[in-house]
C-alpha cells in the first residue's frame, strides 16, 4: 500500500512538474487576488491589517478551489482513472496520494508565499508564523475536501462553477477557524486553540475525505 | 401599518402558494 501511494505521489508530482504552468497559475492567482483587495477597499494601513487574515485565507480558498477541477480530469481523459478503479490498491489510498500531490503543488506554495502577502498588508511580523501555520494545516483540508467535489463533478457540463458551489460551503469552517487563529493571535490571545482545531479537522478529513472521494469516483466513472 | 410583519407573512405564503401552483402544473404535464 505504501509503494502504491508513493508511486501515485511521484507520478502526479512528475506530471505537475512537466506542466509547471499549473503550479505557477495557482500561485499567481493567489497573489493577484490578494493584491486586488487593497485596490478595492483602499490602502488605509489599519484597515488592511484588520482584513489581512481573512483576505489571505479567502484568496487561498479560491486558489485551491480553482486548481481542483483537473485533479481527476486528466487521469479520466487518458484512461488512468479506470486503471485505478480496477486496480488492487484501495481507491481511498489512491485518492489520498493524489490529494497530497495536489497540496504539494497548489497548497504548499501558498503557505510559503504567505509571509510576502502578509508584508503587503503590513501584518505584524509575529503573526506571520501563525498565518503560515494556519495555512499549512488548512490547505491540506481544502485539498482533501475539494477532492470529494472534484470526484462528484467529474466530466459534468457545469464543471468548475458547479464544483465551486458544492465545495465552498464545506470550506467555510476551515476559513473561519484558519482566519480566526490569526485574528486571535493579533488580539493577543494566542490562537493556539484554533490551530489545534485545524489540526483536528485535518486528521478527520485525512481519514474520511479519501473514502468519500473514492465512493464519488466510483459513482462518477462507472 | 406593520410592514415588516405583513411583508414577512405575505412573502412566505405567496412563495408557498407558488410552490403549490408549480407543482399542480407539473402534475398536469406528467399526466399527459
Amino acid at each position: 500500500m505504501l509503494d502504491v501511494s508513493l508511486g501515485i505521489l511521484r507520478r502526479d508530482l512528475l506530471l505537475a512538474l512537466r506542466r509547471r504552468s499549473d503550479v505557477a497559475t495557482a500561485l499567481l492567482f493567489f497573489l493577484i487576488v490578494a493584491s486586488l483587495f487593497p485596490l478595492g477597499v483602499g490602502a488605509e494601513p489599519n484597515q488592511l491589517r484588520a482584513i489581512a487574515p481573512g483576505v489571505i485565507w479567502v484568496a487561498a480558498l479560491l486558489s485551491s478551489m480553482l486548481s481542483l477541477s483537473h485533479l481527476f480530469a486528466d487521469d479520466h481523459a487518458d484512461g488512468t482513472l479506470e486503471q485505478m478503479l480496477l486496480g488492487a490498491a484501495p481507491l481511498g489510498v489512491v485518492v489520498a496520494a493524489k490529494a497530497l500531490a495536489h497540496w504539494l503543488v497548489c497548497g504548499l506554495p501558498l503557505v510559503l508565499v504567505s509571509p510576502l502577502i502578509a508584508l503587503q498588508y503590513d501584518l505584524p511580523g509575529g503573526l506571520h508564523g501563525v498565518l503560515a501555520l494556519s495555512l499549512a494545516l488548512g490547505t491540506p483540508v481544502l485539498s482533501l475536501v475539494g477532492a470529494i467535489g472534484a470526484a462528484l463533478t467529474l466530466g459534468l457540463r457545469g464543471g468548475g462553477v458547479l464544483l465551486s458551489l458544492l465545495v465552498l460551503p464545506l470550506y467555510v469552517p476551515v476559513l473561519i477557524i484558519g482566519a480566526g487563529s490569526v485574528e486571535m493571535a493579533a488580539a493577543g490571545q494566542g490562537g493556539m486553540g484554533q490551530l489545534l482545531l485545524l489540526g483536528a479537522l485535518l486528521a478527520v478529513a485525512a481519514v474520511f475525505a479519501p473514502w468519500a472521494s473514492a465512493a464519488a469516483l466510483r459513482i462518477s466513472a462507472e | 401599518m406593520n410592514w415588516y410583519l405583513w411583508g414577512a407573512y405575505g412573502v412566505t405564503f405567496f412563495v408557498l402558494f407558488i410552490e403549490v401552483i408549480l407543482l399542480i402544473k407539473r402534475t398536469r404535464e406528467t399526466k399527459a
Binding site: 468519500a212 | 406593520n2 410552490e19 407543482l23 406528467t30 399526466k31
Partner: protein, 230 residues
Amino acid sequence: MKWFWYASPETFFPLAGRLAYGCGIAAALLAVAGLYVGFFVAPTDATQGEVYRIIFIHVPAAWMSMLLYLAMAFWAALGLALNTRLSGMMARAIAPSGALFTFIALWTGALWGKPTWGAYWVWDARLTSELILLFLYLGFMALQASIDDRRRSDRAGAVLAIVGAVNVPIIYFSVQWWNTLHQGASVSFAKAPSMAATMFTGMILMVLAFWMYSFAVTFVRVRCLIREQG
C-alpha cells in the same frame, strides 16, 4: 413486511396520493389553528410589540429547513446503501421544499431583524448558518440537475447530501464561534421574547402545519418523479 411492498414506485404511487391529500388537509387546519393562536390568543410583546409575531413563521421555517435536510440526507443515504430507486426519488423530492423553507427563514429573519436589531441582515450565527444551508440545498439541486444519467444523479447527490449533513454541525459551531468573536454591536438571538405558553403553542402548531405541508408537497413531487422516471 408491508414496508417493502411500498418500496416499489408503482405501489407507492397511489399511497403517496392519499397521503398527500390527507397531509394537505391537516396542514391547512393546523395553519389556521396556529395563526389564530398566534394572532388572537398570544399577547402583544412588551418590548417588540406586534412584529415579534414573525416568530410564528420564522422559527417553524428554520426548524423545517434543518429537518428536511436531515430527511433528504436520510433518504439519499438509504438509496445509496440499498440501491432503491424510490429512496433517491424521495431525496430529490424533498430538496426544493427544504430550500424554500430555508429562504423563508432567511427572509422572515431579515424582516424581523430590521425593526428589532436595526438592520435587515445581521451576521448572526443562526442566520449565517441558514445562508450556508441554503447553499448546500442549492448545490445538491444543481448537482442533480447537471447529471443526466438518473442513477449517477441519485448516487452523486446522495454522497453530497451525506457529506453536507456531516458538515452541518461543524459549520454551525464554527459560525457560532465566529459570531461571538466578531460580536460587535449585534444583539444575541436569545433576545427573542421569553415564551409565554400561548406563544409556544402557536409556534408548535405552525411547525406541525409546515411539516404536514412538506409531507404533502413531497408526496406530490414523488408522484411526478415516478411518472417522469418510469
